[in-house]
Amino acid sequence: MKLLNKSTLYFIIFLVPVFVVSWFVLFGLVSRQINDNADESLLAQKKIIIKNFIDTDSTELHFFNDADDDVKITSLSGSAASADLFSNTMAFDSTEMELVPFRQLKSTFIKDGKSFEIIVTRSTFKGDELAESISLALVIMFGLMLISVIIINRFISGRLFNPFYQTLEKLHHISFDESEPSFNQSSTREFDELNKALQQMTHKMFSDYNNQKQFTENASHELQTPLAVIKTRMDMLIQDKNLSEKSMEQIQEIEKSVNKLSHLNKSLVLLSKIENRQFEDSRDIDLRVMLDKILLAFEDDVADKNIVVQKEYNASPSIKINPLLAEILFRNLIQNSARHNVKHGIIKIKLTEQYFSISNSGESMKGNEEKLFERFTKFNPSVESLGLGLSIAKQICVYYHFDIRYQYLDGMHTFRVYFS
């Protein structure tokens, strides 16, 4: 939910009780005001009637009572002088055919030593009608406020939040193979501070990245060069005719280790390069051609163990991938299936639009599956391996958001790479 929508929602939620309280306050105030007005006019009417009554000589009460429905004068037997008394009553209104509320004033006065009681009444407002009117007014106000809030929000998100959205857009598109982004200045202090902080952060990120990249390259370079010296010097050394067979054997053992070291160095540099996302050059690749080429390199392993290779290419998935990484990924998986296979085993390769899967016969790993993709994991010490192949494959999958899964079923190890 957008920030502004969220704030609007909270605003509305808080507005509801405010309007309920307002309703009661308004209702109380308005009805009091109406009563006050009624009382005042009742008092004024009473005064006039009493004055008229006293001024006339007649004591015919019915004359007054008949003249006006709202006035009733009765003579009192005893002498009484009580104060004005207001009250609310209900009476039947013949025109509206229902009980309607009335305000009445009861008072006493004396004419010629005789006490009279006067009751003046006046129809007043109906409570439910007032409540209805107030509710209607409040609902209209609520609606107007809602509309204005929405309009204001649209304006805010269009104008005020514009720098924020611009910054967000830039953050989405940060890529290390492009130049460092620059965040605009904003007249809003908060956004300006945000942009400044982000600028500092991305600057640090880019320089760290470049340092790391530099380090990786330097480390590789610095290690490969002495290895190259060892290797070439050894090529020279073995030309010596005076070497004994024993020395030759020693040299070969050294050479094996040097090769291993060089391979290890290359693999570690590769892993860190993948993790640092230094492979940006992606292109369309025909996986079928690539898989056949890789399989060719393992024909000796296949022939040696009498492995049956079953290929099933249903489709060539259109994936964009760095060709070097693609080759490493599939080579590692194919190498794994050849290396850990058994005599007269099977390698099944399946390629569809959605996934690549490779299965090979072999013994179960006895519950070590979670460690499968970890670095330097070896399950079969007799097989010469660095234990990096699958973790590199995994890293490449992570890099391209492919989902790589492993399964062991009916004596078959299966790796499946889902392209997403």
Binding site: R233, I238, Q335
Partner: protein, 225 residues
């Protein structure tokens, strides 16, 4: 044949020069960009072996200079960086090959020979050695004009041996040449044995001499003397 080797690591430079000189090449050396630039301007070379990271400049600059001079020299880059971008850049600038360090000297030698062959014979491309004749374009091998049926690995092996005659080549150098990065050491050493045995048998069966000798514990030697 005259070669220029540009490499700042002196020990490596020494090994390369020693090996290639013994192959009959005249080798000149440079250890940084300025000295390489001077040599390029003053002399003609048949092939140049150049490292990318050299002091006071870069191997790419050396290649650019060569192209400006309209030099016909073959160019082979040797770099510690196994980077696709560098390979592409090198090829775009006009280099002929890219070899990642660490490499074996017989490998470098074989690649230089391949480049020189390509440069010097346009159209037809043959390797002829005594009774053995290889048509590189058609990939046919003849011994005394009998055509041999070789597998791809046997064919590559033969060319590699012919490039490094009378040299002891370690098994690991041959394995790297035949399988490149797909090295599965323990097994490939056995596979190599089979391929060499088959190649040797096919050469002898067709009347060829037995050139390939096993050097115990170490590797093989294609002996012609």
């Amino acid at each position: 044949m005259k070669l220029l080797i540009v490499e700042d690591e002196l020990s490596l430079l020494g090994a390369i020069t020693e090996y290639l000189s013994a192959e009959g090449y005249v080798c000149e050396t440079a250890t940084d960009y300025p000295s390489a630039a001077v040599k390029i301007a003053d002399y003609q070379y048949d092939c140049i072996v150049v490292d990318i990271t050299i002091p006071h400049g870069s191997g790419f600059k050396v290649i650019e200079d060569l192209k400006k001079e309209k030099s016909k020299a073959g160019i082979i880059i040797i770099s510690a960086k196994d980077s696709l971008e560098d390979k592409i850049r090198g090829l775009q600038l006009g280099s002929d090959d890219y070899l990642t360090k660490p490499f074996h000297l017989p490998e470098l030698n074989a690649r230089i020979q391949a480049i020189l062959r390509r440069k010097n014979f346009d159209g037809s491309n043959f390797i002829i050695f005594n009774e053995i004749k290889i048509d590189l374009l058609a990939r046919h091998v003849y011994v005394h004009d009998h055509e041999l049926t070789l597998t791809l690995k046997e064919y590559n092996l033969l060319i590699y041996f012919l490039a490094n005659k009378n040299r002891i080549i370690s098994k690991s150098a041959i394995v790297e040449h035949l399988w490149e990065d797909n090295v599965d050491q323990a097994d490939t050493y056995n596979f190599l044995y089979t391929h060499i045995k088959n190649l040797r048998r096919k050469l002898i069966e067709n009347g060829g001499e037995d050139y390939i000798h096993t050097v115990y514990g170490m590797g093989y030697n294609f002996k012609t003397t």
